[in-house]
Amino acid sequence: MAVGTLRRAPLKRSKPWPETWVAAAFVAPAALVIFLVVVVPLARAAWMSLFDIELTRPGVEPFVGLGNYLTQLTSAGFWDSVFKALFFTVVTTVLELSLGVGLAMLMDQPMRLRWVLRSLVILPWALPTIVNALMWRWIDNATYGSLNALLTQVGALHDYVPWLSQDTTAMWMVIIADVWKMTPFCAILILAGLQGIDRELFEAARVDGAGTVAIFRRIILPLLTPIILIVLVLRTMEAFKVFDIIWIMTGGGPASSTQTVAIYAYRTAYQGYDFGQGAALGYLIAIAIMLLAAVYLWLLRRTGTTTS
């Protein structure tokens, strides 16, 4: 059969966009949003931190340069809140990481109904922080809290303790509440890391006579180091700027014993109407977190270089 001789006129094709242009077009909307909600406020905050801005003194906003930063860096209240934030950060991160590794090891063991254990473990993390904080505030209540009831019934206490009313115990109660909530987060990430380890390594080690402790120290821990460092970065950043759980449980009290740097900044800006100081505090917190993160990232890179 003869084929028709009609020939299509060749389509005039426009020159395709370079791939980078296409990628940029796709990214542009998200970049614009990020620019507006992150970059612009950050730049504005940096600008504001150089001025003495108080809402109760409208129209008078003298330029003070780094004065707001210097005021805070020489303020006893600032350093007190920084040390409280550091204490909270170190204790919660160490506890959450240690317990997280233990939980992850447990959840990694072959056992019946392992999925039930994994589901239960994740529950505290699934709770909104405000619910968790309110729940622990009730548990710690001196008069009708279940912690006092339990401890007195088992004979550990002879008298009720006002856990949230003493400067010696309030911070620890907040730490316990945070550890209860965030340990599952650490455990799940570490479990993911554990499951990426080749099981043959364990068998080979056992054949060579290694015990459980040796396997943990010589195989599991080194191979988990990258994920542990990532967990450390995430938890350190979160813990240092902790606000919600403390605000709800203690409001920063008693006697400012749980007033971390984020609560101090909030009080300065929103209760003291001092937005210049508030902006400076926001930047000081951000710088501190970036420094901590930089140390971890350096460690992470070094570990990666070592393991590769």
């Binding site: 406020p41 504005r44 109760t56 009313s165 400067d167 006697a255 109407y273 926001g282």
Partner: protein, 463 residues
């Protein structure tokens, strides 16, 4: 008074920057669902009788309804408190009555805890969308909120019957520099509540009249086996300032600062009150858990029958005597707050007022709403949770018969309430004092040292 667009934008940017991670989406108007139909405004005289707010006094209606839009559908966003005073159901009943009178106006109330109220006003009105038309303002806040240009001057719009009929103490929560910025809505103070069973068991027949008698009675009650006879709301929050102010007034100190701005709180009554508070803690008469308690916690402890006496706002009595919530219902009584020496009683001014914001698109309707809620008949709808601020209500036996003891105590205390200072730096001062009081109660500083430290910071706050 209307905030200029430039000023609003400038302040909004500041807050935006301070938060850094928070974007407050600016909305052009206060959630108004106004249609583009032309507004029809009617003076009060021309309104049909049926559209007059039920219960609002004629004078109130007349003043408020100057150019009230009665046709265009609109929504008023209102920020109130859910803690002491009126309950959510009380407020809903008032709102329903208002919308019945003004069917084109929808009320969108938002109720937050007292401790969130101040910050919510600031964040929403200064840096956020400025969506609220009416906000509830505590006694010490007018100075701050006026200088931050958040609330409007309504001096010329206040009806005459409000000026003459409302207790003077209630106006403290509404005025600054001689001008009126709010409609008084709540007139409250802390009363002395006591458990009659525990008193009887200790052989005490009458409520104490002085704080020395409180201490003596507490010792007798403690001897009967009540571990902590007194419970208090001494959390590091405004609650502890209210209690301390009330005690300071009883011990002869009524002002925080003098006319020149010099500290007075670190001497006389203020110092004596803090010393006395610490003494009660040291003697084991006040529950140490009080340092993390607010007024709601005091109600819970009293309702559980754990303590015998406490100071609390009006609503405390109805909560403690509510059989569905309290183990000691029917056993709780009220008395005027004790005095000391030549002072027979004292009371902190816990008044609050409804302020029309500078960002509202409906200032007349917002004011009409505030006046409606504060009208005599609205206030007499439920006097169990909040006492009316109208003097006439106290002489109306139909109103007082439900709780004559409470009205009797209130009439005495309302005559001489002591206000916390209405100064632009109040929140800074309050925060510092809260910390100082707790430092003392925890034994970390002496009363004199703690208060002197705050006095030393005062010039910084005043800058």
């Amino acid at each position: 008074m209307t905030r200029s667009v430039a000023a609003t934008r400038g302040i909004a940017w500041r807050l935006l920057g301070t938060a850094t991670a928070v974007l407050f989406v600016a909305s052009a108007c206060s959630s108004s669902s106004a249609t583009p139909s032309p507004a029809v405004t009617q003076p009060a005289a021309s309104q049909p009788a049926a559209s007059q707010p039920a219960g609002a006094s004629p004078a109130a209606s007349a003043a408020a309804s100057q150019a009230i839009d009665t046709t265009t559908p609109m929504t008023l966003n209102v920020l109130l408190m859910q803690q002491a005073a009126y309950s959510a159901s009380d407020i809903k009943a008032m709102d329903d009555a208002f919308t019945k009178a003004y069917p084109n106006i929808t009320i969108n109330p938002e109720l937050v805890s007292y401790d969130s109220l101040h910050d919510k006003i600031v964040t929403a009105q200064v840096g956020g969308s400025g969506k609220y038309d009416v906000v509830l303002m505590d006694t010490p806040w007018p100075a701050e909120l006026v200088t931050a240009n958040i609330v409007s001057d309504i001096t010329s719009k206040v009806p005459a019957d409000f000026t003459s009929g409302v207790f003077d103490s209630a106006w403290t929560a509404a005025k600054y520099n001689g001008k009126v910025y709010g409609v008084p809505w709540i007139n409250d103070t802390k009363f002395f509540f006591y458990n009659t069973d525990m008193f009887a068991k200790a052989g005490i027949a009458t409520a104490p009249k002085t704080w020395d008698e409180v201490e003596a009675d507490a010792k007798l009650i403690k001897a009967t086996g009540v571990k902590y006879p007194i419970t208090a709301s001494w959390k590091q929050a405004e609650a502890v300032i209210c209690d301390w102010t009330q005690l300071a007034a009883a011990f002869g100190g009524s002002d925080f600062v003098d006319a020149s701005g010099k500290a007075l709180f670190n001497q006389g009554g203020g110092l004596a009150a803090l010393t006395f508070m610490k003494k009660l803690i040291d003697e084991g008469l006040v529950d140490p858990a009080s340092l993390s308690q607010t007024e709601d916690d005091v109600n819970s402890v009293m309702s559980a029958g754990q303590s015998a006496m406490a100071l609390n706002w009006t609503y405390g009595l109805s909560v403690m005597n509510d059989p569905t919530k309290s183990k000691v219902a029917g056993k709780m009584k009220v008395a005027p707050s004790p005095g000391e020496g030549s002072v027979t009683t004292s009371g902190v001014n816990g008044g609050m007022s409804l302020a029309v914001t500078t960002t509202t698109k409906h200032p007349n309707e917002a004011l009409a709403y505030a006046l409606f809620l504060a009208s005599e008949s609205s206030q007499e709808m439920d006097v169990a949770n909040a006492l009316p601020m109208w003097k006439a209500s106290f002489d109306n036996t139909n109103v007082t018969k439900g709780n004559p003891d409470l009205f009797a105590a209130a009439k005495i205390q309302f005559a001489g309430l002591v206000a916390r200072p209405v100064v632009p730096y109040y929140t800074k001062l309050s925060n510092a004092l809260q910390d100082a009081i707790q430092q003392t109660l925890l034994g970390k500083k002496t009363p004199q040292q703690a208060l002197d430290d705050v006095a030393a910071q005062l010039p910084t706050f005043q800058q």
